[in-house]
Symmetry: C2
Subunit: 204 residues, 2 copies
Amino acid sequence: MKLYYAPGSCALASHIALEEAGADYEAVVLDFSANAQQSPDYLAINPKGRVPALVTDDGVLTETPAILVYIAQMFPAARLAPPLDDAWNFARFQSFNSYLCSTVHVNFAHFGRGYRWADEASSLADMKAKVPETMAAAFDLIEKDLLAAPWVMGEAYTAADGYLFTVTQWLYRAGVAPDRHPRVADHHARMKARPAVAKVLESH
Amino acid sequence: MKLYYAPGSCALASHIALEEAGADYEAVVLDFSANAQQSPDYLAINPKGRVPALVTDDGVLTETPAILVYIAQMFPAARLAPPLDDAWNFARFQSFNSYLCSTVHVNFAHFGRGYRWADEASSLADMKAKVPETMAAAFDLIEKDLLAAPWVMGEAYTAADGYLFTVTQWLYRAGVAPDRHPRVADHHARMKARPAVAKVLESH
């Protein structure tokens, strides 16, 4: 498999999952400063012009929640998702990942990519200024209601942990102090101590 | 099961899935004009203060992509998702739903809910004005690359079709002319002709 990514992007979650799975994969960095994600060559691979994109024997897969489950299914020994026939726990796992992609990631995207949704410089500045507030509020919910212990799903480490780690990096980048969410901060520290995470971070 | 919803919201996708599944369910409408989604009673059910929320024997489930798969698993005879052991097609299904929740829904949310991400009236007006452009662009991709025929996944109708139908309603509400996306318009018309969809629309 081949993972297209950019440092600091949400592709980190898929990258961690591949490493935790023990997959044989190649990580290909795209130079966002040169707008490589919009090059004709890359658009032929992923017409969305975004990362991550996972090139598999079956085809090209995009969207983090889909990629995480696919990796979990391809490498079942790594147990990166609840068993799919445990409908409720699989649904909890899915719900968590979906909240990260549709709410938390979106909140953070208004920090530097507000031009996706507005045109005026004053609007982009307004959006950017509000990000610490929206990120902190989303993590208030994660801290209180969504994050089990020691891992997102409870006793079992899953790919949702790598995804939470990724958006927690953004929480801190937005300037929210770690002591507001002590359980999240504890999770973040334990993630950094995992060998697979430390290895992947060298490329991000 | 009990589905909390508001007319015109993305809960329509889950509502259609329950109806197509032949589920025994109750649909409970929340009065958004009275801010019922933020009432203490509802926040005790769903601390996110949003819809949909599906109350099941296992617990309360939120986030559309998770709910759709859960319904598909609870009612396997309705075949509302690809078989979960067909990892690639299940991943395609998941990727489609994830694109709708994280990109298309988010684009439309800037029409009337820009206050989630900015504070100034000028910013909200700027966001609102851009929605036809961002919705049309997202549907350009759906039209060209993501929508198989006759249904999202190809020959088989799935819960992704009800989700696409839901966000296509928003495309039109944003003022994008149906003739820009003829394959989407055809899908929309065929969805409206399904008895389950027509029945659910009576409550939306």
